[in-house]
């Protein structure tokens, strides 16, 4: 009796989770897909977003995604490699872990505020796609670092010792044994962090500006998709176009996640090695 009750409970909670996901996605798609047209995707924005397309926003978002990746991946993965392969000071390791957990739990709006006062005003970088990428990188690094660290720590010590035992240096071991095995796990962390950064409105709203122009340089102001969506809805400009924007956002995120998963799985089948992370 008791067991049956628990079974039903677990089943229901699982079912509710899936149902919620399906309902949210379906609701947005039903409202959003009718809005999407060639013009909506590839035209300039008109009349504050009531008319025209969202090309400038798509481009802003893609610029920001690429720049954030360039800033955050080397740093996040680099710290993880340093901590797992070189650093022997346990206190320092614990300290960095603690700091990164703190950074990961700071609300994104506070990152936005920090970005505004420090990056935009104090460093005088101004409102720009560049500034927004810096702020989003700060948010992405802890996630990339944490997932990479777990992955790297799970690589069997024997494998590392085998490489060193053949006379390889630390660096050679990292490049030809450790990284190839860790790539799937590290990629998961990168995707987790970057899709979050891609969908972030609060952290960028004080640092990126709010232009409707197509950004021509990374030092131009811009308006990424989530911010556009937020402004369209909160200022009551056009709920229709807000749903359209949301749909595009969801499709891009799904595309990134699914295509990366596909490549990671193919890679894993090729090297036949799986590290839990």
């Amino acid at each position: 009796m008791k067991e049956k009750f628990i079974k039903v409970l677990i089943f229901t909670s699982g079912f509710i989770t899936i149902l919620l996901f399906v309902v949210i996605i379906a609701y947005i798609l039903i409202n959003g897909i009718p809005v999407i047209s060639f013009e909506f995707l590839f035209a300039n924005t008109l009349n504050s977003g009531r008319e025209g397309g969202i090309l400038p926003m798509i481009l802003s978002s893609i610029y920001i995604l690429i720049l954030t990746a360039i800033f955050s991946i080397p740093i996040g993965v680099g710290i993880a490699i340093y901590m797992t392969q070189y650093c022997k000071n346990i206190l320092l390791i614990k300290f960095i872990r603690f700091i990164s957990r703190c950074l990961a739990s700071i609300p994104s709006i506070i990152y936005g505020l920090f970005g505004f006062t420090f990056i935009v005003l104090f460093l005088r970088l101004g409102w720009s796609i560049f500034s927004a990428s810096l702020v989003l990188s700060l948010m992405a690094i802890p996630t990339i670092f944490q997932v990479s660290e777990v992955t790297l720590n799970n690589i069997p010590l024997n494998l590392i010792e085998s490489s060193l035992g053949l006379g390889a240096t630390r660096l050679q071991t990292i490049i030809s044994v450790i990284i190839p095995i860790a790539i799937p796990g590290i990629t998961t962390g990168i995707i987790l962090a970057l899709t979050r950064a891609f969908s972030e409105a609060a952290a960028v709203m004080y640092v990126v500006g709010s232009t409707f122009q197509i950004p021509l340089s990374i030092f131009d102001t811009g308006r990424p998709l989530p911010l556009h969506l937020y402004i369209l809805a909160s200022e009551g400009i056009s709920f229709e176009n807000a749903y359209g924007t949301a749909t595009v956002l969801i499709f891009i995120v799904l595309f990134i996640t699914i295509s990366t998963n596909y490549f990671v799985n193919r890679y894993q089948r090729r090297i036949k090695y799986e590290i839990k992370s």
Binding site: K88, I90, P156, N158, L159, E161, S162, S163, L164, G165, L166, G167, A168, T169, Q172, S176, V177, P180, I181, R270, I271, K272, Y273
Partner: protein, 247 residues
């Protein structure tokens, strides 16, 4: 004598792991290290190629000489090239069979393709694996069986031309047939290499080794020719261990 160990002590985290170890390893011989778990044999083995340097809070005193040269006067990369190691669990890299054996050559900067091909073939032959894998050199090493993987690891080790091969219970994860093949291989390898073999299996020590040292709680209780240790042990503790009264 290929390897000489003199008054060697090891502490890890200020705890005594090895106390005053003195053993000489004869060239082209198989020297077995036996003893119960936790007696320090693996730590000792890893001291010889300085793998313990990786451990935080590892300290030692005393000396180990390879060809009369202190191992701490040789840089660790050249030392590890001369002193290869095979682990308990086979640890092939997630690369092809060919690349696994070529790995050691490549990291030492050898680019000559002909030389690498020749060396890979030689090493696979020397480790009695060639006939089983010659048609699938480019398939993943992780497709091989446990015993084949272990022989691949031996091939990988001998590809870089070591003088000494350290083996840390190389057969403990293998079935009897694979074990037999590896033991047979070890016997053949001693013509060219000096082998230090850590084993839990006393029958194995008896079957393959020329010399045996018995470790207990970080001390070497007795060391000598394998026949003498097993048939006519001088110390009481050795006798009770090999007759299975503890351990």
């Amino acid at each position: 004598m290929k390897l000489k160990v003199k008054n060697f002590n090891v502490k890890i985290n200020n705890k005594d792991i090895l106390n005053n170890i003195n053993i000489n390893f004869k060239k082209n011989s198989i020297h077995a290290l036996i003893g119960p778990s936790g007696c320090g044999k693996s730590t000792f083995l890893k001291s010889i190629n300085r793998m313990n340097d990786l451990i935080d809070k590892f300290t030692f005193d005393g000396n180990i000489f390879l060809d009369d040269k202190n191992i701490y006067d040789i840089d660790e990369v050249s030392l590890r090239k001369k002193v290869g190691m095979v682990f308990q669990k086979a640890t092939p890299f997630p690369k092809s069979i060919f690349e696994n054996v070529a790995y050691g050559l490549r990291i030492h900067g050898i680019k000559d393709k002909k030389f690498i091909n020749k060396k890979v073939k030689e090493s696979l032959k020397a480790s009695a694996l060639w006939d089983e894998v010659k048609d699938k050199l480019n398939s993943s090493a992780l497709n091989l069986s446990g015993g084949q993987q272990q022989r691949l690891c031996i091939a990988r080790t001998i590809a870089v031309n070591p003088d000494v091969i350290l083996m840390d219970e190389p057969c403990s994860a293998l079935d009897p047939i694979s074990t037999f093949k590896i033991e047979d291989l070890i016997q053949k390898l001693k013509r060219k290499y000096t082998i230090v073999l850590v084993t839990h299996n006393m029958q194995q020590a008896k079957r393959v080794s020329d010399f045996t040292s018995f470790f207990l709680n970080g001390h070497v209780i007795e060391s000598g020719k394998t026949n003498q240790i097993f048939l006519n042990p001088k110390k009481e503790k050795t006798e009770s261990y090999i007759s299975g009264r503890f351990g």
